[in-house]
């Protein structure tokens, strides 16, 4: 009898414990939507540099300050680094959405319109009208942004990340070892033949190195059109004489592939260029095993120069203008982002219980206070106002703990990454600490790329289904063939077959979809 009672007690205790577990799980879930504490949940990427210092944005001084100012507590959910897109897909598929999601909504399959019909995010027209005074003021004063952040049917869908000045648009291009050029008595190359000379000279002087290297070749070419632009062709979809065209179908593209093939055969291009990841690339550049590459002004050029200074080694890089065929020509193509690209933009989900509160939080960054906070951090800590100019303190520029400028800046402000605010030019002026960086930006931005760029178009649901089906096949195929042509796995004489296959994949249809979307955008 006694044993029976004891057993019963044990059973009851076990059941209570297990159910307590479930209850506590449930409580946690309720908490994120609960409004009494003015709490919101935000899903956004934790950038690698920030992750070095904080496990969660909530620990960042910037967000603590933001919580004080707005009175809204934020619970951040971060996807694992490097898996943002997969985890975003899982998040959407699970239907268990937080209040706010930061993502590239233009990249959502089917575009922002589809995200709304999928019941993931909500249109923001009423919220912006009534509860987001700062953003409302900003877009009413800058009509071109107004056009960018809504769909063709006139629905606003995000609190956008906006680059506030042309100076911020270009930050990627070709860099080359200046000290090696000087050794050979060469000028900074600006034409394809000068490039050939320089790379050949590098190879002659140092047979073991790779004069030119890349990491994720197809991606780098797509972003910058480096070398490709010399032949009057860009990559992917772009605008030529008012019409949408697709780069790989243009005659210049074949010439570019031919050039890369010749250079690869001559040993001017790194044999491992297709397998390099960014770590491999950095180590090659820093250990003098490569002479030039496509890099970013901050995380590439800036980092290399910092390293050279720190380790006190002679290593000097300069940014080169985008190469052309005849000297003195202005490059047609080059790296140029537009003011609104879609990335890092904050949308409110259908699951959000207090949409006005969410709108209020997102809107803060477009006001005067929020602008300074997001761009420069906290006054007196990470910046000081000198004659109205927000100058970063030594905590950022000469970090006592030995952090690089980008790491320190990422710890205090979001200007280097993104968020719901307008990026300030003054951050970039200070971030480009080396003379070579400023020089590089000036050279890289001297192109006609703006004339060719696509606006941030949106597709209808049907269009996007068609478009993504066609382009998924094409993109994989193109990446593969491009590398095969360069390394000689596929003879260049087969280029016409490659083009034929693109037609079989129905590239015309994709072009006409983009053309239609551009036409609608222009009519907005």
């Amino acid at each position: 009898m006694k044993g029976k009672i004891r057993r019963r007690i044990i059973t009851i205790v076990c059941i209570t414990l297990i159910s307590a577990l479930f209850v506590s799980c449930n409580n946690e879930r309720n908490g994120s939507n609960g409004d009494p504490n003015k709490e919101l949940s935000v899903w956004c990427t934790l950038y690698a540099d920030i992750a070095l210092m904080y496990f969660n944005y909530a620990e960042m001084p910037l967000y603590k300050e933001l919580e004080k100012k707005t009175g809204i507590k934020i619970k951040f959910q971060h996807p694992a680094a490097g898996q943002q897109s997969e985890q975003f897909n899982l998040l959407v598929a699970s239907g268990d959405l937080p209040d706010i999601i930061a993502n590239d909504w233009l990249g959502y399959p089917g575009g922002p319109e589809r995200a709304m019909t999928d019941k993931v995010i909500i249109p923001l027209n009423d919220l912006i009208e009534n509860h987001a005074p700062n953003l409302k003021k900003f877009i009413s004063e800058n009509k071109e942004y107004d056009k960018m952040i809504k769909t063709d049917s006139g629905n606003y869908y995000v609190f956008p990340f906006i680059r506030g000045d042309e100076f911020l648009y270009t930050y990627r291009g070709i860099i080359i070892r200046k000290d090696w050029l000087d050794e050979e008595g060469l000028d900074i190359p600006s034409t394809i033949s000068e490039w050939h000379n320089a790379l050949t000279a590098f190879k002659k002087a140092r047979p073991d190195i790779s004069p030119l290297t890349f990491s994720s070749f197809a991606g780098a070419v797509a972003a910058t059109s480096a070398f490709l632009g010399a032949f009057g062709t860009g990559d992917g979809f772009y605008i030529q004489d008012g019409k949408v065209v697709y780069g790989a179908l243009e005659p210049g593209y074949e010439k570019f592939v031919r050039l890369m093939r010749t250079w690869y055969e001559e040993g001017l291009i790194d044999k491992d260029f297709a397998t390099n990841d960014s770590n491999a690339l950095n180590s090659k550049m820093l250990s003098s095993r490569a002479g030039s590459t496509i890099a970013q002004a901050g995380s590439g050029l800036g980092r290399y120069l910092d390293y050279a200074k720190q380790e006190n080694i002679s290593l000097d890089f300069v940014g080169c203008p985008y190469p052309v065929l005849t000297k003195g020509q202005k490059p047609e193509f080059g790296h140029r982002m537009s003011s609104y690209e879609g990335i890092g933009s904050y949308a409110i989900t259908v699951k959000c219980a207090d949409k006005e509160l969410a709108a209020k939080w997102c809107d803060y960054g477009y006001g005067a206070e929020g602008h300074m906070l997001y761009n420069f951090g906290i006054e007196g800590v990470s910046y000081n106002l000198e004659d109205g100019y927000p100058r970063y303190t030594d905590l950022i520029l000469k970090n006592p703990e030995g952090l690089s400028v980008s790491q320190a800046l990422n710890g205090y402000a979001r200007s280097l990454s993104n968020g719901p605010f307008v990026q300030d030019k003054r951050y970039f002026e200070q971030y480009m600490a080396h003379e070579q960086q400023k020089e590089a930006i000036n050279r890289w931005s001297n192109t006609n790329a703006a004339a060719h760029a696509l606006p941030p178009v949106t597709y209808t649901e049907e269009e996007s289904l068609k478009f993504s089906k066609i382009m998924n096949d094409i993109n994989t195929f193109k990446d593969e063939m491009l590398i095969k042509f360069v390394i000689g796995m596929e003879p260049i004489s087969n280029y016409s077959n490659f083009v034929k296959q693109l037609h079989i994949f129905n590239i015309e249809e994709a072009i006409s979809v983009v053309q239609g979307a551009v036409d609608r955008y222009d009519k907005r």
Binding site: D118, D473, T476, F477, E480, I483, K484
Partner: protein, 342 residues
Amino acid sequence: MWCKVLLIDMIKDKRSQNRSKVNQNSDTYEKAFEAAIKFSRVVQNIKADFKKNKLIYSMALPVLCYYIIFHYAPLYGAIIAFKEYTPGRGIWDSPWVGFRQFTAFFNSYYFARVMKNTFLISVYELCFGFPAPIIFALMLNEVKNKYFKGTVQTIVYLPHFISLVVVCGLIKAFTDSNGIINDIIVLFGGTESSLLLNPALFKPIYVLSGVWQEIGWGAIIYLAALSAIDPQLYEAAKLDGAGRFKQVVHVTIPGIAPTVVILLIMRMGRMLNVGFEKIILLYNPAIYETSEVISSYVYKVGLQQFNWSFSTAVGLFNSVINFMLLILSNKISRLLNDVSLW
């Protein structure tokens, strides 16, 4: 309880039948009656068994739950292979499209490539990856020095414990144009090249590195089977004049044959299940042609390109083929040597 009711009903029925003297169906009725009694006995036995061993049964509960929650319940989601799934509408409310996703896959440019690669990698793994641990275990079994044996065994199964990401990093570094393998090639007068850029080399690299990583771990089960062989058999063989090699052929190999067959059948069931992790960590656009397999394609299409329904259809297709292979190999094995899973 309901069994008893059934039984009583039947008995009543039988009586009434007897009374009406309609005996045409009495033979089948008799049989059914016996079966019902048998069945009720079985149920009673199970019930008694449950009562007696309820703690033992409760230990099986977590495993049962695991299979129900993680393997059977998600089967429901497989119906999106026949739909055009969008998360906003949910699984049930997404529109049905029949076999459209499947035909799209069969007509796709990548279908032939993906099938071929999956099949070839599976076959290579079966040909090289499966016998390798058996051979290794047999060889190790012949080593008499205990310390040497222990050391070799430990060293060989260490790679199993290294994370796949690290292993792939190692493979990439070794096959790089400045890597150790190229150094050796150059030493013998060859020219260096990036091995992972050569489509012809991907499968050998994939399979051999797999053998290297798993050979020691795979050998454990065979070593266990080897230790279970009765030593008297060896002594008897020795008396009959069998040398070392003959002992292996006539005692050792028959001794572990059942284990080998069972493992082979289980392996056949996973035949076309080439995992995507290692593929994705190793491949690059230049070698998609020989490295893209079904699972990496499913990952790419489903999780990177948001094509949920399509990728589910591809995955389901793969599972169906696996299922058929498993049944087939089980049947063949039963026909050939009476050893089978069921």
